[in-house]
Amino acid sequence: MQPIVKVKGLKKYYPVEKSWIDKLLSRERRWVRAVDSIDLEIERGETFSLVGESGSGKTTTGLVLMQLVEPTEGEILFEGRDIFSLREEERRRLRRDMQMVFQNPYASLNPRMTVEEIVGEPLTIHLGLKGEERRGRVIELLDIVGLNPGKYYVDRYPHEFSGGQRQRIAIARAIALRPKFIVADEPVSSLDVSIQATILNLLQELKREFKLTYLLIAHNLAVVRYMSDKLAIMYLGKIMEKGVSEDVFQNPQHPYTKALISAFPDINPDVKRDRVLLRGEIPSPIAPPPGCRFHTRCPFRLEICERDEPMLVEVEDGHLVACHMVE
C-alpha cells in the first residue's frame, strides 16, 4: 500500500544573520541545520512519532509537513503528490486533508474569537458555511471532543476555559474538515498530568472513529510509547533510530536511544535502573560535529565515529539504526 505521507531527503536550513563585517569580508553564510536530510514513511492509519530533545529538528519537520515553512531541499509526498510542487489553490485544498494540533492551547486559540468562530473558521473557509448551519456543526464537533453539551460552550471565549478544555477546542478545529492526517506537536506537554491522559485518550478515540493518521511530535517517551505504532528518534537534525515502537522500546540499539529511555524518571519505586548518562549538552546545529553527530557525547565512541557518518541500517525487520556499533 502507498504510504499516506512520504518524506524524501528533507532538509531545512535557516540562515544565520550576517553582520556587515561578515558581508564586507564576504564570509560564507552560515546555516542552522535544523533538519538535515531525513526520510520518513507514514502508513495510513498509524501513529508515527518523532522523538527528540529541543533542537533535534522534530518540530521543524512538522512545520514543513504542514507547509508552514518551506523546505530547503527534498520533497514531501502526500498520497503520492509532491505538495511543494502544487499551485497555491491546490495547496489550500490540501489543508482539508492535513491538519495540526499545537503544543500550547493557551496560545493556539485566538483570544478575541469565540469558540464558534475558532472551530467554525475552517468550515467557513473551505465549505462556505455560515450562520445556523455552521453553528450546528460546531456544536456537533464540540460534543465529539467531549465538550458537551456543545451549545453551552459555543459562545464563550478561550479565557473562560481550562487548559484541557482549550486543547479539546483546538482538536475540534483540527477535525472540523474530517482530515485524513493530523500533525500533533507536543499536544499534551503543556497540560497537567491528569489532563494529559484524557487528551491522549481522546486522540486515540478520534483516530479510531475517523480513521486518522497521526504524526506525533513529542519529547516525553512515556507518551510516545503509549500512543505510537512507529517512531523515529532524532538528534541534531538527523534520524538516529527508527522502527516499530515496541521493537525500539524493548530492544533499543542506538546509544542515544538507550540514554533517552534510561534518562526518563519513572514512578516505579522498585526498579533501580542503571542510567546511560551522557556528558555535556547538545552541540550547536550551526556547526554539527563531523562524522556521527552524536559522537561528542557517546559513551561508546569509536575512532570511526569522528570521521564517517553512519548510515541507517536495518537491524531487524523495519528497525533501522544509524550507528557504527551495530554495523
Binding site: D192, V193, S194, I195, H219, V223, A263, N268, P269
Partner: protein, 326 residues
C-alpha cells in the same frame, strides 16, 4: 536517612490572594514536616498552591498575596513572627531556594559569579575576592567543568542545564539548613534532567542536607524524596512516605494521578486520567474539593474532610480512602 529532629515544621499555613472577584485561597491550611537530612516532596498540578507554599515559607509571597495564618517553624522558631530584618538573615543563609526557570530568575545584566557572591558577602561578611573563591568552589561542587568561565558569564551565555546548576550553587553557597527547590528540572530536556537528578542524589549523599522539592512530576519526586505530600486545590490531600504512596495510594486523587501517568517501562493499553478540571479557588466546591471529579463522592463529601492517619505516618484527607491501591 530521616528519623532525626524536625528542621522545618509547617502548621496550618494559609496564604490568600485578594482579587477583584474575591479571595483566592491559594494555600489553605497545610501542615507537613521536614526532618534532619530528609528530602520531602510537594507534588501537585499547576495552580494547586505548591509554589505559593514554598514562597510562603520564605515569606516572599508576591503582593497582593498575604500569609493569613499558621506557623512556619525552623528548628522550633516561628519564622512568621520574625521581623523583616531578622527574616532577611534567614533567607539564603538558613533556608535557600532555587527556582524553576533560571533564565528569568537570574538577573540578566549581572555576572553569574557576582549573583552568587552577593549572598555570600551578605551572610558571611567576606570580601568580594574571598566570596568569589567560594563561588568557584561551589560551582565545582555542582559539577560545572570550568567554574571560572561560568562565574564570569552572563546568564544568557549559559545553556539551560548550566544555569540550573549555577542556580543550585547559588542556593548551596551559604550551606543552608534547608534547601527548597521549586521545579528543579522542569525547564530541561530529559537527558539534562537526568544529569541533574543524579547530581542532586550525589549532593544529598555527600551533604546530608534537608530539602523540600516542589514538582508536578511524580517521577522526579520518586527519584529524590523519602516522603511526599500531594497537594490539590490548596490543601494537602495525602502525605506519607514515597513508596507507600506509589504502591498503595489512598486518596482518590492520588490514585487518579498515578493512573494518568504513562510509563516508559511498559506499554499500557489505556490510561485512566481524571475528568474535569481544577476548581476555582475563589469559590471552591463545598466540603472535599476533589469531590466534583471523584468517582467515589457522595453526600458526605459535601462536608469538610479531616486529615486522618490511616497507618503510621500515612495521612489522607478523605471521607472514603481507597483500599487496596489503584
Amino acid at each position: 536517612m530521616g528519623g532525626g529532629e524536625p528542621v522545618l515544621e509547617v502548621r496550618d499555613l494559609r496564604t490568600y490572594f485578594p482579587t477583584m472577584r474575591g479571595t483566592v485561597k491559594a494555600v489553605d491550611g497545610i501542615s507537613f514536616t521536614v526532618l534532619e537530612g530528609e528530602t520531602v516532596g510537594l507534588v501537585g498540578e499547576s495552580g494547586c498552591g505548591k509554589s505559593t507554599a514554598a514562597l510562603s515559607i520564605m515569606r516572599l509571597v508576591p503582593a497582593p498575596g498575604r500569609i493569613v495564618g499558621g506557623e512556619v517553624l525552623l528548628r522550633g522558631r516561628d519564622l512568621l513572627k520574625l521581623s523583616e530584618a531578622e527574616m532577611r538573615g534567614v533567607r539564603g543563609a538558613r533556608i535557600a531556594m532555587s527556582f524553576q526557570d533560571p533564565m528569568t530568575f537570574f538577573n540578566p545584566v549581572m555576572r553569574i559569579g557576582d549573583q552568587i557572591a552577593e549572598g555570600i558577602i551578605r551572610h558571611q561578611r567576606l570580601s568580594r575576592r574571598e566570596a568569589w573563591e567560594k563561588v568557584i568552589s561551589t560551582l565545582e561542587v555542582v559539577g560545572i567543568p570550568s567554574p571560572r568561565d561560568v562565574a564570569m558569564s552572563y546568564p544568557h551565555q549559559l545553556s539551560g542545564g548550566m544555569r540550573q546548576r549555577a542556580m543550585m550553587a547559588m542556593a548551596l553557597s551559604c550551606h543552608p539548613e534547608l534547601m527548597i527547590a521549586d521545579e528543579p528540572t522542569t525547564a530541561l530536556d530529559v537527558i539534562i534532567q537526568a544529569q541533574l537528578l543524579e547530581l542532586m542524589k550525589d549532593l544529598k549523599r555527600e551533604l546530608g542536607m534537608s530539602s523540600l522539592i516542589i514538582s508536578h512530576d511524580l517521577g522526579v519526586i520518586a527519584e529524590l524524596c523519602e516522603r511526599v505530600a500531594v497537594m490539590y486545590a490548596g490543601k494537602i490531600v495525602e502525605y506519607s512516605d514515597i513508596r507507600r504512596i506509589l504502591r498503595e495510594p489512598r486518596h482518590p486523587y492520588t490514585v487518579g494521578l498515578l493512573e494518568s501517568i504513562p510509563r516508559v517501562g511498559f506499554k499500557k493499553e489505556r490510561l485512566i486520567g481524571i475528568e474535569g478540571s481544577v476548581p476555582d479557588l475563589i469559590e471552591p466546591p463545598p466540603g472535599c474539593r476533589f469531590s466534583p471529579r471523584c468517582k467515589y463522592a457522595d453526600e458526605k463529601c459535601k462536608e469538610d474532610p479531616q486529615l486522618i492517619e490511616l497507618e503510621e505516618g500515612h495521612y489522607v484527607l478523605c471521607h472514603h480512602p481507597v483500599m487496596g491501591g489503584g
